[in-house]
Symmetry: C2
Subunit: 426 residues, 2 copies
Amino acid sequence: MIKAVDVVDVRFPTSASLDGSDAMNPDPDYSAAYVVLRAEDGFEGHGFTFTIGRGNEVCCAAIEALSDLVIGRDASDLGEFYRRLTHDSQFRWLGPEKGVMHLAAAALLNAAWDLAARRAGLPMWKYLSGLSPERIVDCIDWRYMTDALGPEEALDLLRAAEPGKAERIAEIEREGYPAYTTSPGWLGYSDEKVVRLARRAVAEGYRQIKLKVGDDLDDDRRRFAAARAAVGPDVRIAVDANQRWDVDRAVEWTAALAEFDPWWIEEPTSPDDVLGHAAIRRRVAPIKVATGEHCHNRVMFKQLLQAEAVDFLQLDAARVAGVNENLAILLLAKKFDVPVCPHAGGVGLCELVGHLSMFDYTSVSTSMEDRVIEYVDHLHEHFVEPTVIENGRYKAPVLPGFSAEMRPDSIRRYTYPNGPEWSENR
Amino acid sequence: MIKAVDVVDVRFPTSASLDGSDAMNPDPDYSAAYVVLRAEDGFEGHGFTFTIGRGNEVCCAAIEALSDLVIGRDASDLGEFYRRLTHDSQFRWLGPEKGVMHLAAAALLNAAWDLAARRAGLPMWKYLSGLSPERIVDCIDWRYMTDALGPEEALDLLRAAEPGKAERIAEIEREGYPAYTTSPGWLGYSDEKVVRLARRAVAEGYRQIKLKVGDDLDDDRRRFAAARAAVGPDVRIAVDANQRWDVDRAVEWTAALAEFDPWWIEEPTSPDDVLGHAAIRRRVAPIKVATGEHCHNRVMFKQLLQAEAVDFLQLDAARVAGVNENLAILLLAKKFDVPVCPHAGGVGLCELVGHLSMFDYTSVSTSMEDRVIEYVDHLHEHFVEPTVIENGRYKAPVLPGFSAEMRPDSIRRYTYPNGPEWSENR
């Protein structure tokens, strides 16, 4: 039984350094609406949703509102807990299953999964890998899914992935999971800094980097040319427009970057525009299209796959409703044979998505081909079990839980607006 | 210049009577996150977003957050004001353009339009009808629209509707705009009450009513048969599933109701599922498909039209970002030649959408063919200028503004949780 839900507004003043700057988000302050579920038996579950500053307090208010459905009740049946948070008819009106309420549900659901994995004494990826196909299918909300994938076919997919699972778990523990890095490519960085960080990324073992584009075409071409010259032809360079364009503009701009061999064009237009993504993908082929970090639920991912709108599916750990909805999304991607390359960066997103990709490998896709997890090297110092990269790969987390727990001193210092980093320095 | 933004959480205990009950929303408490913009020159602008109870406080928190972009600044350039509220990069992360933040933007934008119409001394529908095509086009955010409709083509559509406008304005003032009523059909009503209210609706002049369906097929067939027998073959009966079904289920259920001649099937599945609606529409033809009250922005409406997924487009006055976004949606509907039949009911939605349909007639579609505005006869007594129906038609509002203003005594009594209707009676 959950006896208390703590909610904290934690913000980091990242806008000061232009870390995280892109064509749509020039000055983010990476933030978390942070939750601790306190269970009667003494266990805790930590979770959060990620925002970029203003409005983080609205997510906190939404979590407080949903807490009425949590406090004094059990959260160990994770399928039931999901349905309780997302099916409440009055709250549902505020979405449904999108925006602030869904971000809030993500924080609470991720915390409940953290609690379950801690109780099991296992890191999340290994906890998930040990769940039966039946248990996983029961944690998913199949409503609106069955024209693409139903529970019976999902069971078949999961059962087909059982052979070899122990070997894949051992492989993850030994070798980790491949990453790519966005650290060199923020739009606010100088050409010199982009080149320096791109070279460093390759030296550190990355085989893929990403550049932000979409604000000024001449700038994009100059920076892309410099980065390509710095890393050579064999390192993949993805580009990310962060929703900046309409359909025609996306096609034209991507064509103007084609000579530098972009691996994928990411978020070329509105995250809601399934048909727009499909049109862009047809017109920019063979350049690939990736999207998903702002895709708000499984119904939208279902349509992106049905419409053949994406080559890579970029799930986010805290925008859809937590682990449950990401289980649905991983299974949809398997059904449609589209590689999942999670969105990360932000604050704490790397810590979470490593678990999801590792589970995807052990228990769903069983493949790492063309699959990479995004990595950005900032703010990890605030976590109890920070993401560790070795030779361009995520190392497997080992502590029980979802790696979501922030260090208490970081929470205290960066609480908004009264923590000392905000009240004393600004 | 806006010197203050008042925000009030107003809730009506409608769950006590099962007014508003449907297959997804068994016990709504119709509520408004209510806003008053107070301008330096003494004018006020009233607006709100509609919710069904729990979480209304989260919308209020979102309006408070957005108020930082409003207070001390001008709100008279309505295109700029729209972009200010929806393009702020940090707030945008919480959507973008969906959910709680978009509901909050709707309240503020509708209030700013109310303010503008009051200053002009005109009811909103007439104020809008007097704006130049250029002014209207400037109030619309064309981002993500241009693959379906761009500003130049929109200007052409608006200019083509100029001839005869004065006559259409006079016609609206003389005869109003056709309505249909959902009052007979709430799911929580007995068969006897459905029949009695259906007969009364026809006697009052309505030529279309609507029944809620989707919870139990035997119940639906029995109630539909009774209602059809009561009103005869010539009155249109629409049915509304409120998102209850998956695609196959929607097709099967609709087929099982076909013998009673449903005029349209409304919200058969997830409001996010453009491709699902398109599949359903193909499979249930010639029964028509209607949707839109939960469609969260112009990008989704654009796709519903591009995919030929709807026969009727049901815009909502307070779910998308206010008048601005509804101008875009009306123009999209005109381009794709799909009739707009607004969603209403709730609290205050009838008061708002009458203005939008009347403007649609005078200045965009120039047609009332197969166009009806939803009407539900409750909670109108709380408004300064309540919707008036005569012979099954909305009468044209006459007071300056958007008819959004609630009576001060109603606001005081129903403020949640400290107004006397909540603190004393429950």
